[in-house]
Symmetry: C2
Subunit: 174 residues, 2 copies
DNA sequence: TCTTGACATGTTATAGTATAACATACATAG
DNA sequence: CTATGTATGTTATACTATAACATGTCAAGA
């Protein structure tokens, strides 16, 4: 049982976005997030069925984004359906219920590291190691809302993504 | 000859992002941007060949983003090649040379409304009328750089896109 | 002038991403 | 138990993008 030292929030653990780019006890991240996800699903009255839960676990294995077909391949190998809609439906469910994010730049999906918390994420994608961090971006979102408001535009959904080099890969001189 | 009243910058014309969502003299936008694009290409020593120029003109017809296959269909109807690479190559050229932008949320491309000017655009996409505005987003980009810097991440490219309702469509009660 | 090399275009073929439409299973409420 | 809604499975297809190769064009250099 990971992180028995606390039962709810875990400051500086899964919440720490820089962990995505550094060595860390990742079982802590994934265990923590998965527990929160289950709580959130129960709270919202939606069902985290076996496929859906398994897809979330797969996304949580690493701080990376996976394509739908990567996920599908994993599912198929584990006895679930092996046709695209199986993966897309589970992924869409996770996205719609705030348990995963779609990374448009990569045509891929990543687990949400802050399920249930109100957050306006920006995604930092390392082009060298492919790790993805969900950075807190409330100020970014605020600036975006402001720019939109200046034009009378009402934002409903937004995606903010950046490609570059993470600290580890910068050091390695990629 | 459009906009003969000025020879270089055109404050409040193509530069005005809110124009994308309102009635306006669009030939002014397109004529102005096309002229700037030609100047910029010459200045950068790259060739705005007939296909490339035509693709830019097509993108400039409206404040919308077009899919590669939409562009291709237009090209094919005008005697250019009718295979995907013809469109993708021209579009990639325009994007790489700062004459167009890729809108990832739509898998589509839009003409850059500020070619040659240093700008950090955010794209506002109306889900009702499909118009796309290239909003000035220097503060947004600055906030994003700041959030990334806090994690030691070096941004190279970014995309900032928002979906919602433009002022016109909000009024229409969409 | 002729050649050569760089670049642009054209074409064939295929890879990768996503969804429509229909069939089956399974739960829970009445 | 049976009707209803929801989840899953499956078939087929649509949409997006690129690899690889062939042909054409033009200008610099021999
Ligand atoms: Zn982790
Ligand atoms: Zn990295
Ligand atoms: Zn216009
Ligand atoms: Zn609109």
């Amino acid at each position: 049982m990971p992180h028995a030292h606390h039962s709810d929030a875990c400051p500086g653990c899964a919440a720490a976005p820089q962990a995505a780019f550094a060595r860390h006890d990742h079982s802590h991240c994934s265990g923590d997030v998965l527990a929160r996800a289950e709580a959130l699903a129960a709270e919202q009255g939606v069902k985290l069925t076996p496929v859906r839960r398994r897809v979330l676990e797969i996304l949580l294995e690493e701080h990376r984004a996976l394509g739908a077909y990567d996920v599908l391949q994993r599912l198929a190998g584990e006895g679930f359906g092996n046709q695209p809609p199986v993966a897309y439906r589970a992924l869409d469910f996770l996205v719609e219920n705030g348990l995963a994010h779609r990374i448009r730049r990569l045509n891929a999906f990543a687990a949400c590291m802050h399920p249930g918390e109100a957050h306006a994420p920006a995604f930092l994608i390392c082009r060298a190691c492919n790790h993805v961090a969900e950075a807190p971006a409330a100020p970014v979102r605020e600036a975006l809302d402001h720019a939109a408001a200046a034009l009378g535009f009402a934002i409903e959904r937004s995606n903010i993504e950046a490609l570059g080099l993470c600290p580890a890969c910068r050091g390695a001189g990629a």
